[in-house]
Amino acid sequence: MDIRKIFQQYSDRTSYPEIGEDGKPIIDLSSHKYLKMWQGPQHPGVTGNMSLELTVCGDEIVESKTHVGYLHRGFEKLMERRKFIQCFPTCIRMCVAEPDPNEYLLARCVEELSGIEVPEMAQWLRTLVLEMARLQVLLRGVPGQGGTFALGLGYQWGNYIRDLILDRFEELTGGRVYHMYILPGGVRGLLPDGFKKRMEENLKLADEFVKSIDDLMYSNSVFKQRAKGLAVIPKEYIDKYGVYGPSARAAGVMRDVRKTNPYLKYAELDFEPYTTTESDVYARSRVRWYDLQTTIDLIRQIMAKMPEKGEIKAPTPNVLHWKIPKGETYVKCESSRGEYGMYMVTDGSDMPRRVNLKGPSYTHANMLLEKLLINANIADTAGIMVSLATCPPEIER
């Protein structure tokens, strides 16, 4: 058969597959037009332990299904048979890359349900730790977007500076990845001597990195060609699909809990989250790049404004016999990926009745990613996925 005729026959690839009456694509694998392939769970282009079941026509994706569960340990269920203080080591593992919002939310739920006021110094330290957590994620996440399009240099570079921030975490909390620095009532300790000076040295390096990554990635013609116009999220998808944080801000919709529902000391800090309207992979990456600058600036502001000394922990009952009155609450904060919330129900016992974590990946990696991947090229899958900053542990909890 003439290859040109075949090409002409299938040249309008957007019409494949045909859509059936039930609204689902009609995919007949025996027709040899389509191929099933898996991206993940072990794949460098997948952010963590999840996989995508892709149906492709040539190199174009016609259907995508997200599969999670490779990391499921039933954290929420396990917390139901642990005392509130014992929930912390479990809860922080619900997002490995950025565990601090988990411990903040759990502590905040407990404090709110038991009526504990957190001292001002502890609030400043919590704000600092949350911003440091955001910084270490973005130092890897911003250049990581380049990595998905084979621009790996920035990622290695960002990891070096991230390691220096982990050094600061280590001296402040004792841990590099998991910190458990925020506990009900306050935090575990004050800043060590010389911490601010060392942090400022790290921030200067991060400043240089921000400028360099601008030249390396955002002026790179290959990166621009691949990322611009890719996986556009229309504005009407924001509420329909549950789009949060930088991904929503790239579509021109202001979604930043730090601004809309200020918590801790964010109301006293001067910052304006960046928004744009292009809403493609390039725009989402650019929003995160601006976020990186904002975070560096916020850490400087926090260190300048916070008091030198003060109470760091409000008195709490003996944590091993701590019974919390019956009630329920939902608290939220802004993680690097968007709104991060925790819903807790208590029944008057010394263990939570129900804890439910709501991270932005839950909606981003399921319905939204499945939708955005349709008609995309296989080679862009990783780029689209990373642009949504998915974190599988917070989906399967």
Binding site: K77, E112, R354
Partner: protein, 175 residues
């Protein structure tokens, strides 16, 4: 917040209300009015963003609590719509037509709590668990400890010690 609660009370049978903060409240209403209220809040009161849907197992009382948490992106307030459903043959009206993201929550609740949402797309597909044959694991009567003991074999090096006794034997062996 008070104004909207009064408005809801005038239209629906609110049996319980809890104002947690000035931007968060929870309302309990009958099962047959829940989706109607959620739709009303979305279409007429500006609660256009859906935050989460989850269940709480009140096994002692024989029912599940479903909580629909909605967010108003204009005035930044949140309302939790709670409704109680029978624990046996638990079924709830699907709300997948309101938000695309809703079907994922309903699919998870079917798998983890055994609550059915007839008509919800892909509700019977495995979400997190694969080939699970036991009772839905997030129900209170599913015992995680018993399951782990029966399913996984003991590994050497996992002996547990009483921390106080162990430290005493290490630090003060002669006492």
């Amino acid at each position: 917040m008070q104004k909207i609660i009064q408005d809801i009370e005038s239209r629906y049978s609110v049996s319980e209300k809890e104002i947690r903060r000035n931007n968060l409240c929870f309302l309990t209403i009958p099962k047959n009015q829940a989706i109607s209220l959620v739709t009303y809040l979305r279409d007429y009161q500006g609660y256009s963003a859906f935050t989460l849907l989850t269940a709480v197992d009140w096994i002692e009382e024989g029912h599940f609590q479903l909580t629909y948490l909605l967010n108003n992106p204009t005035n930044y307030t949140e309302i939790g719509v709670r409704t109680m459903i029978e624990r046996d043959h638990a079924t709830m009206e699907s709300a997948h037509h309101l938000w695309e993201s809703m079907q994922t929550y309903q699919r998870e609740l079917k798998e983890m709590f055994g609550i059915d949402f007839p008509g919800s797309p892909r509700v019977d597909e495995d979400f997190i668990l694969e080939g699970w044959t036991d009772i839905p694991p997030y129900r209170r009567d599913f015992d995680t400890k018993k399951y782990a003991e029966e399913t996984y074999f003991p590994r050497p090096g996992r002996e547990t010690n009483d921390p106080a006794e162990y430290m005493k034997s290490k630090l003060f062996p002669n006492d």
